[in-house]
Each structure stands twice: as structure tokens, then as C-alpha cells.
Amino acid sequence: MERMRSLGSAHAGMMLWLWQRLTSIYMAGFVVYVIVHLSLSPVRDHAAWIAWMALGYVRLAWAVFILSILVHAWIGMRSVYFDYLPPLWLRSIVSLLTALGLLVLGLWAARILLA
């Protein structure tokens, strides 16, 4: 029971559950959109790729997609750690490294998309 309590409130778990699903729905829609778009108008060279990525809504959709990946990855990796890394110290260290890694990826993605 001690361990159960340290996981946080039931409400927090519910929010994680909800975010995991909201991000998955957005990502699924985005991936389907990109596949359909690239099938209809294939990107054959760098110029076409740049031109597509220069569109404001495309860039925004990519930004939301990448943010969704990071949120989804964080929640997913945390639940994996909670199940397979029982020692608190180990779970904390691995969680911290994961958070730092995802943060770096997020900043990198922001730099790419704002360029």
C-alpha cells in the first residue's frame, strides 16, 4: 500500500491515461494525413520538401506531432519503468535521463521548426 500511495493521486493517473490517448489519436491522424499527402503528391527533391515544410499549417501540424510524440513517449516509458524497474533509485535515475533526453529532442525540434 505504501508503494501505491507514492504513485500519486488517482486523478493524476487519469490525466496521464487521457493524454496518452489524445496524443495517440492526433499522431494517428497526422501520420495517415502525411502518408496520403505524400502518395498523392510525392516529394521528389529538396525544393519540394522545403516548399511543403514552409507552409504555416504544415509546420504547425509537425510541431504538434513532435510534441505529441514526446508526451506520449514520456507517459509510455514511465509506465514501462514502473512495471519493470522496481527499485525507486533506479527508476528515478532512468526517468530523469529519459526526461532530459526528451527535453533535448524537443528543443532540437523547436530549433528545426522555427528556423
Binding site: R21, S24, I25, A28, V31, D45, H46, A47, W49, I50, M53, I66, I69, A73, G76, M77, V80, G101, L105, W108, A109, I112, A115
Partner: protein, 128 residues
């Protein structure tokens, strides 16, 4: 609970026979972790491809080489497997296919569909 067998003292992962839904579920986790580990590579390729036309051409030629196509195909399988078992998971959440026989059928369906995605992608890659 019938007392035919003694409780196992340890869990032998090789001897556990998971039902198909269990295999799909653990694969969802494994593919998820693999996808997270692939994120830096994906972002690197995304970054480079946007930088200049020589980088774009280099990535294109690497992707269309034999090794590149095989790697792409493996990644497509990992993604499709995660995507499709995730869709099944979302449907289970809203009460679609949560009876045992349908859930098992959908688990097989997810495997079949990811196989189909890989075959279709392979056909596209080898005919492009």
C-alpha cells in the same frame, strides 16, 4: 482453483505461453521502446533533409540502397505493429471488441495488418 500444479517458484519467461492478445500487448511495449530509441535518428534525418539539397540527396540515396530499404522495412514493421495494436487498444477503451473471441480475433487481425503494411511498403520500395 484446482491444485493440480504447485505454484511456480520463479517465472521462466521461456516457458510462459501468452495468449495472442498478451503477445500483442507486450509487443506494443517493446515496439514503443524501440520507437523512442529511434527518435534521435529520426530527428537527425528530419533536420539534415531540410538543411540543404546535397544532404537531402544523400539521405534519398541511402534510403533507396538495398540496406536502406531493408532498414526502412524493419522500421515500418515496428511502427505499424505499434500503431495497429494501439488502434486496437483505443477501440477496447470505448468498448469495441472487448469480448474475448473478438479481442483475440482483432489481435490476429493486427498482426495480419502489420504484415500487410510491410508487404505493401516493400512492393512500393522495390518498384519505386
Amino acid at each position: 482453483m484446482p491444485k493440480k500444479h504447485k505454484r511456480p517458484v520463479y517465472l521462466n519467461l521461456v516457458k510462459i505461453r501468452l495468449p495472442v492478445g498478451g503477445v500483442l500487448s507486450i509487443l506494443h511495449r517493446i515496439t514503443g521502446v524501440i520507437l523512442v530509441l529511434l527518435l534521435p535518428l529520426a530527428l537527425y534525418l528530419f533536420d539534415r533533409s531540410l538543411q540543404d539539397s546535397t544532404a537531402f540527396a544523400e539521405i534519398s540515396s541511402r534510403v533507396s540502397s538495398l540496406e536502406g530499404r531493408i532498414v526502412i522495412l524493419i522500421m515500418v514493421w515496428v511502427f505499424a505493429q505499434h500503431f495497429l495494436s494501439g488502434i486496437r487498444h483505443l477501440l477496447l477503451d470505448i468498448g469495441i471488441g472487448d469480448s474475448k473471441p473478438i479481442a483475440r480475433r482483432n489481435a490476429w487481425l493486427a498482426f495480419a495488418a502489420s504484415g500487410a503494411v510491410v508487404i505493401f511498403t516493400g512492393v512500393c520500395l522495390w518498384n519505386a
